[in-house]
């Protein structure tokens, strides 16, 4: 018997010739995630007078392949906060576990103190910054929605570098280019938030999801949408885009099969 563990389970040298074990060597630089693998596309969110609306489609892409079509990319925390994940899906699943253990840790005290969206956003930004400082980033961009210490609507993003950013409308990925300008038309600044009803915010977000499905090749017509207010969270994870109209496609020029 061969007593070298690295040879166990490998093809026998006497039959298959010398086995190249060079990749088993642990010397050399550590290799961390250099790029995301299975990815989710945009997350979009907008504040309104009583809370925040967040949406993300249910697709996880493997490169350009629409690999998984039932991936829920919105997660709730404490019935007060919604977190939307863009970017790498396995890192999303890792963060989901981190959040679950945080939830358990916080609940053990059972003393009536809860982490709100603002606290959670601070925490997640630290986790992301810690990992990027280890040169092993979590390849995500997050939107955290809920209410702050004063019960006012809260919306903020954190990305794989630990950078944080806050605005009345936010979008990650392709949504930052396609949906963000549309949302800004309705909610240009913080002062406009007070004039937006929940219905108007939901309608705007649904319209943006449709535009994203039209123009983002890594998107899906099935999506999740969450409305978070002081009363709680209304999360729907199996929505379908309605009233699509592809008439505009006729007029697209510049690529594809059409000549002029």
């Amino acid at each position: 018997m061969n007593h070298f563990p690295q040879a166990w389970g490998r093809p026998r040298d006497d039959i298959y010739g010398h086995y190249d074990a060079s990749f088993l060597q642990s010397s050399g630089p550590n290799q961390h995630t250099q790029s995301p693998v299975v990815t989710g596309t945009s997350v979009i969110a907008v504040k309104f007078k009583d809370g925040v609306v967040v949406a993300a489609d249910n697709l996880a892409s493997y490169g350009s392949l629409a690999r998984f079509t039932d991936v829920k990319r919105l997660r709730t925390f404490n019935d007060t906060t919604v977190i939307g994940f863009g970017g790498d899906v396995s890192d999303m699943q890792y963060l989901d576990r981190v959040l679950s253990s945080l939830d358990i840790k916080e609940s053990y005290a059972n003393d009536g103190h809860h982490l709100n969206a603002k606290n959670l956003h601070t925490y997640l930004a630290k986790v992301l910054y810690k990992r990027r400082s280890d040169f092993n980033p979590l390849w995500n961009q997050l939107l955290v929605a809920g209410t702050d210490d004063d019960g006012k609507p809260f919306l903020s993003s954190a990305d794989l570098l630990g950078t944080t950013f806050s605005a009345p409308t936010l979008a990650t990925g392709f949504g930052a280019h396609l949906a963000q300008p549309l949302l800004r038309r309705i909610v240009p600044d913080e002062a406009a938030v007070g004039g937006i009803t929940q219905e108007a915010a939901v309608a705007a977000v649904k319209e943006c999801m449709k535009v994203l499905f039209y123009r983002d090749a890594r998107s899906l017509d099935k999506y999740s949408i969450a409305v978070v207010t002081n009363e709680g969270i209304d999360l729907k994870e199996d929505e379908k885009l309605e009233a699509q109209s592809w008439a505009f496609a006729e007029g697209i020029r510049g690529y594809g099969t059409q000549v002029s």
Binding site: A109, D111, G112, H113, L115, K118, N119, L120, T122, Y123, K126, D149, D150
Partner: protein, 266 residues
């Protein structure tokens, strides 16, 4: 000849089930000079005597005073070994800062008090360790309102409406118990006055509260959710509170002349 065989360390129970090392540590709290704490619906107050046992004085000189503001939202007052209080206060400062940095949240008082309670309790359970020789009053405010906690070397922590620890603190506690119902709705000024009266009760007959021997610390809920930070009144600053107390007294004496007969022997 009748040496106590059960007080060599904090892990040995006496046949009666006592742990002498812990009791001795609690004795150190009783040697320390008195501190009083009270809480209303809006404020938490700590009042303390600055005159210390010589050992305490030596340590407090290094430490800078009887109180420590641990964070914006809470502070402690100590009776007993100041060096042990320093260990606990450094620990609490770290915990408070860590909560602020990782979650952007002022640490809930109940949790930080539980954490020093656990820390003190483990000291009573390991061979070679000793209990902390200090008692603390922790006063502060979090999202659930103002709070006052008592901490003992045994690791016991308890939320209190009003409390006093240190030398001759029983008389102060008696005062607090008699006036317990008035604290909840008291104003900041009334609360401090109650504290000073309780403190005065624990003084020897010939002693008075002066700006040289009294310190006051106040923390309150400001207007609409804003915090009135932990504030320490020392030296000349205490006079505003002591003056309040003496003003009331002069009113009292004028009123008491009529009802003097009733006041006798009360």
């Amino acid at each position: 000849m009748f040496r106590n065989n059960y007080d060599n360390d904090s892990v040995t129970f006496s046949p009666q089930g006592r742990i002498f090392q812990v009791e001795y540590a609690q004795e150190a709290v009783k040697q320390g000079s008195v501190v009083v704490g009270l809480v209303s619906k809006t404020h938490a107050v700590l009042v303390a005597l600055k005159e210390c046992s010589s050992y305490e004085k030596q340590l407090l000189y290094i430490n800078g005073g009887r109180y420590q503001g641990i964070d914006d939202h809470f502070g402690i007052a100590l009776a007993g070994l100041a060096s042990d209080a320093r260990v606990l206060s450094n620990f609490m400062k770290q915990q408070a800062l860590s909560s602020k940095l990782t979650y952007g949240r002022a640490i809930p008082l109940e949790r930080i008090v539980a954490s020093i309670g656990d820390r003190a309790q483990t000291n009573t359970q390991h061979y070679g360790k000793r209990p902390y020789g200090v008692g603390l009053l922790i006063a502060g405010i979090d999202v659930t309102g103002p709070h006052l906690y008592e901490f003992q070397p045994s690791g016991m922590t308890q939320e209190m409406v009003a409390c006093s620890i240190g030398a001759r603190s029983q008389t102060a506690r008696t005062y607090l118990e008699r006036n317990l119902d008035e604290f909840a709705n008291a104003s900041k000024e009334q609360l401090v006055q109650h504290g000073l009266k309780a403190l005065k009760n624990s003084l020897p007959q010939d002693k008075e509260l002066t700006i040289d021997n009294t310190t006051v610390a106040v923390i309150g809920m400001g207007k609409v959710g804003k915090l009135e930070n932990f504030k320490l009144y020392d030296g000349q600053d205490v006079s505003v509170w002591l003056d309040l107390d003496s003003e009331e007294k002069s009113e009292d004496t004028s009123a008491a002349t009529e009802g003097a007969a009733m006041e006798i022997d009360s």
